[in-house]
């Protein structure tokens, strides 16, 4: 019974993954031009999984982990966004976001640990 539940869940997730990425009802030339735009949906799905962990996390440490991972995912989002639009400054936003996310994660870790900030 448990195996059947696991298989159903895996099939639903993998089909969401694959159908958001490859559209089977278009020609090959169109597929190449749509590849990156469909890649956004995969990152969007990953972001939704992180949000699920932020909402449901039993301890504060779980939420901090999910926030950290979401920050790195947004850097990948910025990197992909630079290719089809042809604008170079998206990667600058990515660098700034990664720096900010790193520092905020360190501050959150100190806060969870229960120490003061000046140590």
């Amino acid at each position: 019974m448990r195996i059947i539940r696991w298989l159903l869940g895996l099939i639903v997730l993998l089909s969401a993954f694959v159908f958001s990425w490859f559209n089977p009802f278009c020609s090959l030339l169109e597929w190449q031009s749509l590849f990156l735009k469909r890649g956004f949906f995969v990152l969007f799905l990953c972001g939704l999984l992180c949000l699920w962990r932020i909402i449901r996390g039993p301890t504060p440490a779980d939420r901090a982990v999910a926030i950290d991972i979401l920050g790195i995912l947004i850097l990948g989002f910025c990197a992909i966004l630079g290719i089809p639009t042809g604008r170079d400054w998206y990667i600058d936003i990515g660098i700034a976001w990664a720096l900010q996310s790193f520092i905020s994660t360190l501050a959150l870790a100190k806060y969870i640990e229960g120490r003061d900030f000046d140590e």
């Binding site: 448990r2 195996i3 696991w6 298989l7 895996l10």
Partner: protein
């Protein structure tokens, strides 16, 4: 101007050239002024042993270390993907203690980062005085200190000792 100031200046100017890649003259002048000021102020806080940078063999060992690290990283990712997608979740976690011989801060930082990105292990805390590392291991094979040291730390420690110590 001592040696540590010059080494920090070289690192900073390389970083500045990467950030403003098609460099023109104005960017270069501003970069040299700011990097010179910063390295003059805080040079001897970051680089404490400038004689380390003279040996050529350290750079060669570092070049050998990079592909080894990337290969271990790819193996770690395939391992995690297998464990996550398996229906029974084949994990057996625990925190073990290993011993290391490295002394300097840079070497310990690189060792902890390498352990975090290689298959199944993540460093939790460092006891720098006695040389112990506490490691969360997703599939504990052995609880003993010496055998865990052989499995986890030994392959990186040999190389990192030649690079940083």
């Amino acid at each position: 101007m001592r040696k540590s100031h010059i080494i920090l200046f070289i690192f900073l100017i390389l970083m500045w050239l990467f950030v403003t890649w098609p460099t023109d003259l104005q960017h270069l002048i501003v970069g040299i002024l700011v990097c010179g000021f910063v390295s003059f102020m805080i040079g001897d806080m970051f680089v404490k042993r400038p004689h380390v940078f003279k040996h050529l063999s350290r750079y060669l060992w570092f070049l050998y270390y990079i592909p080894l690290f990337i290969w271990e990283c790819i193996k770690a990712n395939l391992d995690v993907a297998y464990r996550v997608a398996h229906p029974d979740l084949p994990i057996n976690p625990g925190i073990v203690k290993v011993k290391t011989d490295l002394k300097s801060d840079t070497a310990l930082t690189f060792l902890a980062n390498s352990i975090t990105l290689t298959p199944g292990t993540m460093s939790v805390d460092i006891d720098a005085e006695k040389g112990y590392l506490y490691i969360h291991w997703i599939n504990v094979k052995d609880k003993d200190i010496h055998k865990a040291t052989e499995i986890i730390v030994a392959r990186f420690e040999k190389i990192l000792k030649r690079i940083f110590d």
